[in-house]
């Protein structure tokens, strides 16, 4: 018997029991739809995390002093004074793959303007900082190298700070605000960046020349951190190597000894974050595939019932000349068609669900061709796997007793 006839017979059998066919399909539909939706939502969140991280500057490199240990006691991170002006100067002048370097010294102060006050952290940085961090100015200007040289009392503030201090909607540019007891002139306002991936407000920020913070606020000469940017994303590893080399020789670290600083490239961060979200995606898909297995067992259950119920039909088909193989293939065909049609509906439903979720959660809408392909194959295999035993049972019936079955 040719395959076309088989499919015709299988389809007409499925049509004879529309309700049961639909209900059996439902199991597969739900299984496939949840797999597709979960994978696509997982991939969308991976993509959105990645996008967010690269918006922070994909070729950014962070240098932090290592934790200090003295006599077995962990002294914490900020106690280290290893990053100095000398390092900054060398990094600015003697590197090939480092495009810009900015130190970072930070302190926390109360900001006061008129009757309003707001506590915020203040970062002392180099003018190149806004390029490294991919910040943009909404109004005014960034301070200059000249301001850095003269410890000028100027600052650039973020949107949250503006909202807290300038409650009457005044233009902050040119106004003087107090940082603790020191008056500073606002010369620029940053474009809003909103929250980052961890939910921190990126607009609650005050930037000032690092020298101003070092001399006027803290009375120190070292830096808490260095921010650098590589000439390109691909070269960030090279740049990191370069920085390591310069810092090691500056700090007089002998070969074989450990660094007294840590370097983190954005790339590492991206790969860490995306491996987390990828794991999440796999987890979601695994949970969803349980429902697929349940759907498959549903098919098997119904196929068994069908075979028993249609014993007489099987006997008749055998009596009028069906080979055992024809019977087996007919039932196999039925379960495969059942699961494939269920799969197609499931894929469409899954895409609709993931589209709705992406709109609702403001995630990018990702269609995973791979997930569609795999779930389609899984569907066919489910049909064959769970249809096999019922089909075999049907094919092995004895025509005489099948005909007599009541």
């Amino acid at each position: 018997m040719n395959i076309g006839n088989l499919i015709k017979i299988a389809i007409s059998s499925l049509f004879r029991n529309k309700m049961r066919t639909a209900l059996t399909m439902l199991g597969i539909v739900i299984g496939i739809a949840s797999v597709i939706a979960m994978v696509s939502i997982g991939q969308a969140s991976t993509q959105s995390v990645k996008g967010e991280l690269s918006s922070m500057g994909s070729n950014m490199i962070m240098v932090m002093p290592s934790r200090q240990h003295r006599g077995g006691v962990d002294m914490g991170m900020s106690t280290s004074k290893s990053l100095t002006n000398k390092d900054l100067k060398m990094l600015k002048e003697n590197t090939r793959y480092v495009a810009a370097v900015s130190p970072n010294v930070s302190t926390s102060k109360q900001l006061i303007y008129g009757n309003n006050n707001h506590s915020s952290s203040i970062s002392g940085v180099d003018p190149s900082y806004i390029d490294i961090r991919k910040l943009e100015l909404k109004e005014g200007v960034m301070f200059t190298d000249e301001d850095v040289k003269r410890y000028n009392k100027v600052c650039v503030i973020g949107k949250t700070v503006v909202d807290k201090l300038f409650t009457n909607g005044e233009n902050p540019i040119g106004k003087t605000i107090r940082l603790g007891s020191i008056p500073m002139t606002v010369i620029g306002v940053l474009e809003s960046k909103g929250q980052n991936g961890m939910g921190n407000d990126q607009d609650d920020i005050v930037l000032a020349p690092y020298t101003t913070i070092q001399k006027r606020f803290l009375g120190i000469t070292y830096f808490n951190m260095l921010f650098a940017s590589a000439t390109s994303e691909e070269e960030s590893e090279l740049a990191a190597t370069e920085i390591t080399y310069i810092l090691r020789s500056n700090h007089g670290i002998k070969s074989g000894d450990v660094d007294d600083f840590e370097i983190r490239t954005q790339e590492e961060l991206v790969s860490t974050m995306s491996s987390i979200t990828r794991m999440l995606t796999v987890l979601l898909a695994a949970i969803a595939s349980i429902s697929l297995v349940v759907g498959g067992i549903g098919i098997m259950n119904i196929m068994y019932v069908t075979v028993t119920e249609r014993t007489k039909e099987i006997g008749l088909r055998m009596a009028i000349g069906a080979h055992n193989r024809d019977i087996k293939l007919q039932f196999l065909c039925e379960s495969v068609i059942l699961s494939l049609i269920g799969g197609i509906i499931g894929i469409i439903l899954g895409l609709i669900i993931s589209y709705a979720v992406s709109r609702l959660m403001k995630l990018p809408y990702v269609v995973s061709e791979m997930a569609i392909l795999i779930s389609f194959i899984v569907c066919a295999l489910t049909g064959i796997f769970f249809g096999w035993y019922p089909a075999k049972k049907a094919a092995n019936m004895d025509p005489i007793s099948a005909l007599r079955y009541e």
């Binding site: 018997m1 040719n2 076309g4 006839n5 015709k8 017979i9 007409s12 004879r16 007489k312 039909e313 006997g315 008749l316 088909r317 055998m318 009596a319 009028i320 000349g321 069906a322 080979h323 055992n324 193989r325 024809d326 025509p399 005489i400 005909l403």
Partner: protein
Amino acid sequence: MAKDILRVENLERIFRVGSEDVHALRGVSFVIQEGEFVSIMGTSGSGKSTLLNILGCLDTPSGGDYIIDGVSIKNLSKNEMSTLRNRKIGFVFQNYNLLARTTAIENVELPLFYNTSVPARERRERAKEALKLVGLENRMEHMPNQLSGGQQQRVAIARALVNDPVILLADEATGNLDTRTSYEIMSLFQDLHEQGKTIAFVTHEPDIATFTTRKIKLMDGQIIEDAPIATQSAAEALAALNLQKED
């Protein structure tokens, strides 16, 4: 001389029930020639069902030989037996065995699906012809539950005829029908017989057997009677039945 359609030689069939051997057939021999209308009679337990199963190639004998249309079923594989059933035998069952929720014409087409020598486009034509032969040409799109018992049996007969078999095997084909409808079906069988079909008709009702041309009677797995009989016309019996009613 007419061709031998069935030749049964010293047929034995032994079933094992528990630790005991039950001899359902003990050396049955006969020949059915082309164009014969044979009734096979016997009480239950006489072995007629076993004989029918073997004649229908659904079962294999424990001993002896069975030759249908020149083919011995000894040493045939399961698949070869299936093909034999498809091409050479037309079954008519007591309870019709039609597929539910399937139109009459689709039911009749069914055996053709398993016959690779019939192209798909010929199927419908042949099914239509077979239905015409049993007088149901205007019931083709009806479902079995929309047909009377007699009509359902006609569909089953059309299904048995559609592959143009060498023999029709009817198993108590009138068992589920009232007298009038039984006579109608027998009249249809007689028509088919006149057109040259070979028919073997298993029944336990003596009056049904009188419509055939030859009677084989079984008892305890052996033939106790095999003789031609004076055939009654089913059409006349039907007319007589109608007269009785009017009285």
